[in-house]
């Protein structure tokens, strides 16, 4: 029997998330207009809110599920295995982590009334108590109400409807929604003045969840690549009979297994160093698997319809979430 990847965190949560993502992908597949996809994603996001995903890490006292990192990671793995185009890490992992201790806001988040995008990469400055500057390509839920902003060492909550705040919306290479935020003297609520450590910790959680999603996507992508090579006939035989291609797939598999080891270690001990090494390796292994999957699909690998290319673009995008490989390498070198 050909290869079928085994999940790191099997169970009900994984299965449910995977089924949700499969249904999502099937509904999105025929939609080509970005606006139509954004509208569909909004419907799906509302369904996820009903399922309580954004409240997974929120304590029960605030109306959440009081779940653990591993509970959320199992959802990320199931969703990632089909490259779900919704902001799981940002909205279900990073946002509640940033809001830890802010009980009223956590309750709003779990209830779906607070729907923030998360912009932690800088670009915004504070002048006379007001925020100005631009944050580009910020991953967002389909209908964001707020933005969580890291400004120097502080953390702010900005109402997107506030005067002086404007945004335009985009679609990422993996079909997720982002916005470019343009602030000109907008006022926002200061959540914490010295938030550097907790922002870094939240980013690391995001990076770890990105790795989990990417590992899951890579497993599916390798399986689809194998299926394609078994079925595609050239020179009177299946492409799967050519050693050059078989070796390429073996290399993809080993790169994936190696990365899986790192991600499992980081899930077990989620310190920043383990996460940085996993993210660094994702940059290498993920890029390799995505590029080679496209290559061995031939012309089909260049088409948008193919589920495999959707997975490949998701894996390529994961590299740029929460710090690319050079960001994490720089952290590791600075600490050495």
């Amino acid at each position: 029997m050909p290869f079928d990847p085994r999940p790191m965190l099997p169970g009900d949560a994984y299965d449910a998330a995977r089924r949700f993502a499969e249904a999502s992908a099937a509904t999105l597949a025929p939609l080509h207009e970005p606006a139509a996809r954004a509208a569909e994603l909004a419907t799906q996001w509302a369904a996820l809110l009903e399922l309580g995903w954004p409240g997974m890490l929120v304590p029960e006292a605030q109306g959440g599920a009081g779940g653990t990192l591993l509970d959320l990671a199992a959802l990320a793995e199931g969703a990632g295995s089909v490259a779900l185009a919704l902001p799981l890490a940002a909205c279900c992992g990073v946002a509640p982590t940033l809001l830890a201790g802010q009980d009223a806001l956590l309750a709003e988040l779990a209830a779906g009334r607070l729907q923030p995008c998360v912009a932690l990469a800088g670009g915004i400055t504070l002048e006379a108590g007001r925020l100005s500057g631009r944050a580009l390509g910020v991953e967002t839920p389909p209908r964001p109400s707020h933005a969580l902003l890291a400004v120097e060492d502080a953390l702010y909550l900005l109402d997107l409807g506030t005067p002086g705040a404007a945004f335009t919306r985009h679609e990422r290479i993996d079909g997720r929604l982002t916005l470019d935020l343009d602030l000109q003297g907008a006022s926002a609520q200061l959540l914490a003045a010295e938030a550097g450590t907790s922002v870094a910790r939240a980013c690391d959680l995001g990076a770890l969840l990105s790795c989990v999603e990417a590992v899951a996507a890579m497993g599916t992508l390798i399986r689809q690549t194998i299926d394609y090579l078994l079925q595609r006939q050239q020179f009177g035989t299946a492409l799967a009979s050519f050693q050059a291609l078989r070796h390429r797939v073996a290399e993809m598999y080993v790169a994936w297994r190696n990365l899986t080891g790192l991600v499992q270690a980081a899930l077990r001990e989620p310190g920043w160093e383990n996460i940085a090494f996993a993210k660094l390796r994702l940059g290498e292994a993920g890029r390799f698997v995505a590029e080679q999957a496209i290559q061995v699909h031939g012309g089909m690998g260049m088409t948008e319809e193919l589920p495999a290319t959707r997975l490949a673009r998701r894996i390529l995008m994961a590299e740029f979430e929460w710090g690319d490989r050079h960001v994490h390498a720089a952290r590791l070198l600075a600490a050495a």
Partner: protein, 392 residues
């Protein structure tokens, strides 16, 4: 004591022992990335054995330590950190488990103690001039005469044969049947009449591999493992154990540390900034891969301990570590190559240029090429992986 405290105490115990008992001259060879031989390995094995730590991976009843995976891992790690040699593999990790699984009681009693104590030195006689990746095509013949086999043929690439006492050897006992079904595993003393060992000169400038010629060598039938013509099964069992050698990545981490020190030392000047940054980055990438491989290794050791099938794990491990270690060697070569490669050998003396500091990095780079060739080349491992992935 809770478990973490227990493991920490164990770590400290191993460290104290290693630093107090592993002779400094042996640790110096490891620290300088020298090639190890029996001269370093045997005394160290004797010391470990005397302390009851001779065989971390064997069951207790055969003199093993009975340690679980975590303790074995800590043991490997601490030994590497202290620049102690990793234990010699041919007896402990390759032949030992085969004897335990398939040997007679008499064979176990005869051979296991010498492996444990480090008195007996073993080498592996598998490859031949015409049988490398395609090992099943081996031709060295063994003809039964009464209670003896008479063995004639040639082995090639036999590591450490020049300093070994015995060679576990795959021979052909039946040329009429399917190739894999006519092979037998024999244990051959290297002082038997009719054996000649000759050095093969390698690109690293060290002597480690040999040709072994066998001309009418008489081997008692009592030295046969298991049944006649079933040697392929035992030999493959052994090769899987050999590939699991990759599970001990601790020495590779230490090698990485040394390479890092080299890069910092060699490229300290402002003119070296670009190169240094690039090499440091490559070292981080290598470290990430080694960390991933370490996890795969733990899973593999767990599977062996639980008696579960290993599946693709040996190949995954080999493919996850062999290139990585080569890449570390290449980083070191990039750091010192310009200065050192041009002075590899003195013209008026023999051997590599011991007077040139850091020459071992060039030797190691050369030596490490073998990592992707021996024990089933990377190409062969990829064939194995692909066969499983594609379902044929």
């Amino acid at each position: 004591m809770d478990e973490t405290a227990e493991l920490a105490a164990f770590r400290a115990e191993v460290r104290d022992f290693a630093l107090a008992h592993c002779p400094p001259e042996i640790r110096a060879v490891v620290a300088a990335n020298g090639k190890l031989g029996r001269k370093q390995w045997a005394p160290w094995q004797r010391i470990l054995h005397a302390h009851g730590w001779g065989a971390p991976s064997w069951p207790k009843e055969y003199g093993g330590t009975g340690w679980d995976q975590r303790r074995r891992h800590i043991f490997d790690e601490v030994l590497a950190e202290c620049d102690c040699p990793p234990q010699y593999h041919h007896g402990l990790r390759h032949l030992g488990p085969v004897l335990i699984a398939f040997g007679t009681e008499e064979q176990k009693a005869r051979f296991l103690p010498g492996i444990l104590s480090g008195e007996d030195w073993w080498c592996q006689g598998y490859s031949e001039p015409g049988a490398g990746s395609d090992l099943a095509s081996l031709k060295t013949r063994a003809v039964r005469e009464g209670e003896e086999y008479v063995v004639t043929g040639q082995k090639l690439w036999t590591s450490h044969a020049h300093e070994s006492d015995r060679m576990y050897t795959l021979v052909r006992t039946n040329a009429e049947v399917k190739r894999q079904e006519g092979i037998t595993l024999l244990l051959i003393p290297l002082n038997s009449p009719g054996i000649c060992v000759r050095e093969v000169r390698t690109i690293d400038g060290w002597h480690h591999v040999n040709e072994v010629f066998l001309d009418g060598v008489r081997v008692p039938v009592a030295n046969r493992i298991g049944e006649e013509n079933k040697g392929w099964t035992y030999g493959k069992f052994l090769l899987d154990r050999e590939r699991l050698g990759g599970a001990n990545v601790a020495p590779a981490f230490r090698f990485l540390d040394r390479c890092r020190e080299l890069v910092a030392r060699e490229l300290a000047g402002p003119a070296d900034a670009l190169k240094r940054g690039q090499l440091e980055y490559r070292l981080l990438l290598a470290e990430a891969e080694l960390r991933g491989a370490r996890e795969l290794g733990k899973a593999a050791v767990d599977a062996v301990t639980a008696g579960e099938p290993l599946g693709l794990m040996p190949s995954e491990l080999k493919l996850s570590t062999a290139d990585t270690v080569q890449r570390i060697g290449a980083i070191a070569l990039d750091a010192v190559g310009e200065r050192v490669a041009s002075r590899f050998r003195p013209v008026d003396a023999s051997g590599p240029n011991a007077a040139v500091e850091d020459i071992e990095w060039v030797q190691n780079f050369m030596y490490l090429r073998a990592k992707t060739i021996f024990g089933g080349s990377n190409e062969v491992q990829k064939n194995v992986v692909a066969k499983q992935l594609f379902g044929n």
